[in-house]
């Protein structure tokens, strides 16, 4: 009877030890699962944050792209303006210069641009002498003035 009691006690101890081992494994597994859950939550939070930043960046990029488009329009407008200035410089102004010079060549008259309004003042550059011109247009008819000025121009070929 004594031998079997001892044996049964030893058996019991083994079983207890095994039970403790199993319980510990179970607790460890539970802990690992819990930690896994925590890590998962952290990852989800990081992903959310990153996702938000990504969205913000996308919006910024979109806005900048639009700005770039607007700038393209500005560039086109500037090119148009440059062409206009070019036309003025290469066509309109030379044309006006030509006409002004033609008048000068024809009449040999140089106007005084600083004279008071109503006064026809200038110089006629004759072949030998330079003759001043000083007429009061408020007192004289247009025809008179024209006739007078043309009278200064030499009709000799």
């Amino acid at each position: 009877m004594g031998r079997s009691t001892v044996a049964s006690h030893r058996g019991q101890a083994e079983v207890l030890a095994m039970e403790e081992e199993v319980a510990q494994s179970l607790l460890d597994a539970k802990e690992r699962a819990h930690q896994g859950g925590v890590e998962l939550q952290q990852l989800k939070a990081e992903l959310r944050k990153a996702g938000e930043e990504d969205t913000r960046l996308k919006a910024s990029l979109l806005q900048l792209t639009r700005e770039l488009e607007e700038l393209k329009e500005i560039e086109a407008s500037l090119e148009r303006q440059e062409r206009e200035v070019d036309e003025d410089t290469t066509v309109t102004i030379p044309s006006a210069v030509y006409v002004a010079q033609l008048y000068h060549r024809i009449s040999k008259i140089e106007w005084d641009y600083e004279s008071e309004p109503g006064m026809v003042k200038g110089i006629h550059h004759g072949p030998s002498v330079a003759q001043p011109i000083h007429l009061d247009s408020t007192q004289l008819s247009k025809k008179f003035i024209s006739d007078y000025l043309w009278s200064l121009v030499d009709t000799d070929w």
């Binding site: 039970e19 199993v22 319980a23 494994s25 179970l26 597994a29 539970k30 690992r32 699962a33 896994g36 859950g37 890590e39 998962l40 990852l43 989800k44 992903l47 990153a50 996702g51 990504d54 960046l57 996308k58 990029l61 900048l64 792209t65 770039l68 500005i74 560039e75 500037l78 440059e82 206009e84 200035v85 003025d88 410089t89 309109t92 102004i93 006006a96 006409v99 002004a100 033609l102 008048y103 060549r105 024809i106 009449s107 040999k108 008259i109 106007w111 641009y113 008819s141 247009k142 025809k143 003035i145 024209s146 006739d147 000025l149 043309w150 121009v153 030499d154 009709t155 000799d156 070929w157």
Partner: protein, 226 residues
């Protein structure tokens, strides 16, 4: 005497038999009791073992569940880690792109601001120059009563006014252009001038354009007075 001994012997035997019977029956009861106790303790043991077995089965179940959960979690964790890495890389790319675009836009803005200024200054200068030139031409036109116009076909049109004293605004005009031989060629005079052909020859010879126009005007004026 033998009967007394027999009677005594009989009594002894009966006593012994009764004692034996009761002892046996006691022992027997004891044995039955022991057997029953033994049976009960076996049953209790069995029950305890059964509970333990169920507990342990439950523990194994839970353990397996945890294992499953952990496995699923690990998969999810790996997936989300991969996603996160990818997203971080995309964010980095976008940040770089943003930098480049910003710098680009800044450069363009500066360039355009400069261009705008240049254009504005050139425009202003041109405007002023044109204004002066126009003013000059206007003075000549008004005072000389002569308008010079560029018209189609590379021609110049000369329009005299202040010729007719009764109608100073009446125009007297003709057109002029350089022909293929680079010579002056007059045309379309209104009103018609006879001497215009002669004047054309003269100006071709002398190139005195000033005299040419003076003479044309003189001729137009003479026409009116006739």
């Amino acid at each position: 005497m033998i009967e007394d001994e027999l009677a005594l012997f009989d009594k002894s035997i009966n006593e012994f038999w009764n004692k034996f019977k009761s002892t046996v029956s006691d022992t027997s009861c004891g044995m039955v009791g022991l057997r029953d106790t033994y049976k009960d303790s076996i049953k209790a043991c069995g029950e305890k073992l059964s509970v333990k077995l169920k507990e342990e089965e439950r523990m194994v179940e839970m353990f397996l569940e945890y294992q499953n959960q952990i496995c699923r979690q690990n998969n999810l964790i790996q997936e989300k880690k991969d996603n996160l890495l990818r997203l971080i890389a995309e964010i980095k790319d976008k940040k770089q792109e943003l930098e480049v675009l910003t710098a680009n836009i800044q450069d363009l803005k500066e360039e355009y601001a400069k261009k705008k200024e240049t254009i504005s200054a050139a425009n202003k200068a041109n405007e002023e120059r044109l204004k002066r030139l126009q003013k000059s031409a206007d003075l000549y036109k008004d005072r000389l009563g002569l308008e010079i116009r560029k018209i189609y076909g590379d021609k110049l049109q000369f329009i005299f006014t202040n010729i007719d004293p009764k109608h100073p605004e009446n125009p007297f005009m003709f057109s002029l252009h350089l022909n293929e031989a680079k010579e002056y060629e007059v045309s379309d005079s209104a009103p018609h001038l006879e001497c215009l052909a002669e004047f054309q020859e003269n100006v071709r010879k002398t190139n005195n354009f000033s005299a040419f126009l003076a003479n044309v005007r003189k001729a137009f004026t003479a026409m009116v007075y006739n």
